[in-house]
Subunit: 394 residues, 2 copies
């Protein structure tokens, strides 16, 4: 167990929102917090200073990716993940559970572990709960995750129940295998959108006493309402004095709604991924910078935005770079979207501490036009499909 | 004519090298100088501050590219090229002559001008010397170029002579059409590797009194020895009090050898292009960062290099980013290669001013292992071929 990993500063009077802080060997992290995703030890297109400037002191890296390339042993020999990627803030590593099931072209589960194939070269590998912990200890992240099984939203009730039971046995083994007391180890509550399984899973995992609790298996294609109702059921079952981490969630509207339900930590590739597709966040919703409306716009994408992209370049210039498929486009859009999320999280924290998060949430949700359900699901599916090609670039 | 555009500070005692400065509306530019290439109003992957940090106060943009996309009128409406790309240093625009002949899938020359097709959408366009000047005046660069014809190295003597004659007539028309006295206009000496045509061209163009003189039609596939011997013949025919610009040259060894022959200005996409292929400059020659030798290298690519890439990241991390095809790889390598050329130019200038450029040149050429002729020519050809696909990205 990591000592004093989480502190709670404030709680909503009439809501479940809360403000606090994670204490890590690489500095404090104020919550609610969003962790930009750097699966391959790089938040795509950015250097560490830019991630800090956007308001972040926590990033996520992925054990699955780093195990396959460049290899856990190599990163460890070179002084660990912080030094390797030159990031002196906190790091959270995912165990690779989710990637094993979503990226690997083959995946065979036994009680002992998972046999899988590399999406890069097809080579066969074997992962166990003990190895997942060992690898994450060697990478040296500040927060590490248990190995879990993430089922598809259309899994049968029987398959789902079986996966949850397996996740529980693995969680116990991860807990037993964990040695480094400077690292926080989080359990992952699974159970899809089944209230009964979520209850079972929360009960089992809280009994094992983890440093924090993640909610996995959401934002994987289910309707938004089901995600939120599952949070309504699950969060109250988690201990007040431990951080709660909603895995894979990162759209502005989902973050605000999940904070309202008591979530402290988020991670998602969405802000950086949609940036590279030209979708830029504004306080009124996403805008596609490729649209003709931006061709002659001398103003920045978001008036008053303090990110280096908006302070330096016109929307017309960004439009030009995207049309010309210039590499700088992806970088400038990434800076903007992450800065937007950084600013959103700062506002969320400030409003919780000031006791007026309810007003903020109402105003934000009224002005922020969300991407409609159909578009959202089809885009996500397109992305999930594309990942199997194994391209590491865009 | 731009007044007092060039000042000469120092000349070699026993060699042709010289140190000086260009005076432009956007600051002074010390020579010998290298201009990073930003054809589409972006030096690929970098923001303006990084170009400055690498030691540059002059960049090259391309009229051909900007005319086709986003359009000269648009850039002009948005306040000109400096403001569009947020670059407050000096800009040199090429007229587009070279690109018309190398990029356009169709190119028909009459005395009046060139009919060509866009490499982007195949649309047909017409360019004249007068339009080339008009567009460059509208873009607002500090230094602009006449419209010229750049022939292939295997052109017949008759075709070459005809192209040179046409270039001369167009140069005269450009000179007459030029209105903005705050912009310097350079003539371009052509003539391939024919001493006689180079003599004719230098004589004709110097008679027209340009603010500076470029040498075009070199570094287009001819052997290095022929390039250097052509410089030996051509440079002495140009006036001492005007800057001399060798177009399209940018390998470290070519720069040093051309400086020794009296060249003041260089531009080339080579340092940034090879960076994106993983070829990084060191004082001993180019190194391919993808090579296994770098897999575990904890040191930076170049020990003691002051660029932000080498100060921050290990060679092993760069190796990983290239292997994983991460976008950050191209950016970090570009920063390094441009910083290397920036440092090379600073050393060249310092040694000329100190009167010991000969020693520097000898030592540099002895330790810098040049890419062998065969590799060089085949790489260049591959690149020239690939440009016809019209991809603006990598």
């Amino acid at each position: 167990m990591a000592k004093d990993h989480f502190r709670l500063f404030a709680r909503g009077d009439r809501g479940a929102e809360r403000a606090g802080g994670l204490v890590t060997p690489h500095g404090a992290v104020l919550t609610p917090v969003f962790a930009p995703v750097g699966s391959q030890a790089t938040v795509k297109t950015l250097v560490p200073g830019e991630i800090k400037d956007a308001g972040f002191n926590l990033v996520l890296a992925n054990t699955y990716h780093l195990y396959l390339r460049p290899g856990v042993e190599l990163v460890s020999e070179l002084g660990g993940l912080h030094r390797f990627m030159a990031w002196d803030g906190a790091i959270l590593t995912d165990s690779g559970g989710y990637q094993l099931f979503s990226l690997s072209p083959l995946c065979r589960v036994t009680d002992e572990g998972v046999t899988f194939r590399s999406h890069i070269d097809g080579s066969e590998h074997f992962m166990t709960p003990e190895l997942a912990v060992k690898y994450q200890e060697a990478l040296g992240a500040d927060i590490i995750m248990v190995l879990d099984i993430c089922t598809a939203p259309d899994a049968s009730p029987a398959a789902l129940a079986q996966a949850v039971a397996q996740t529980h046995r693995w969680a116990r083994r991860c807990r037993q295998a964990h040695r480094r007391s400077d690292q926080a180890l989080y359990g992952i509550v699974q159970g899809g959108t089944s209230p009964e399984l979520r209850r079972q899973s929360a009960a089992y995992l809280t009994g094992l006493e983890f440093d924090g609790y993640a909610i996995g298996g959401l934002s994987v294609g289910e309707p938004k309402e089901l995600m939120l109702s599952t949070l309504d059921i699950t969060v109250p079952l988690l201990p007040e004095d431990r951080p709660r981490y909603l895995m894979g969630v990162g759209s502005p509207e989902d973050i605000v709604e999940a904070v309202a339900r008591g979530i402290d930590i988020f991670d998602s590739a969405l802000p950086t991924r949609v940036a590279r597709n030209g979708a830029l966040f504004t306080w009124q919703g996403r805008r596609n910078i490729r649209n003709a409306a931006f061709r002659k716009m001398e103003r920045p994408v978001v008036d008053g935005c303090q990110c280096s992209t908006c302070r330096t370049f016109s929307a017309a210039y960004l439009h030009h770079l995207f049309r010309a498929e210039e590499l700088l486009a992806y970088r400038l859009a990434t800076v903007h979207n992450l800065s937007f999320i950084g600013e959103l999280m700062a506002r969320v924290r400030a409003h919780i501490l000031e006791g007026n998060f309810r007003d903020f949430r109402r105003e934000f949700m009224a002005s922020y036009l969300t991407t409609d359900e159909t578009t959202r699901v089809s885009q996500k599916q397109k992305w999930l499909d594309s990942r199997h090609t194994g391209a590491g670039g865009r």
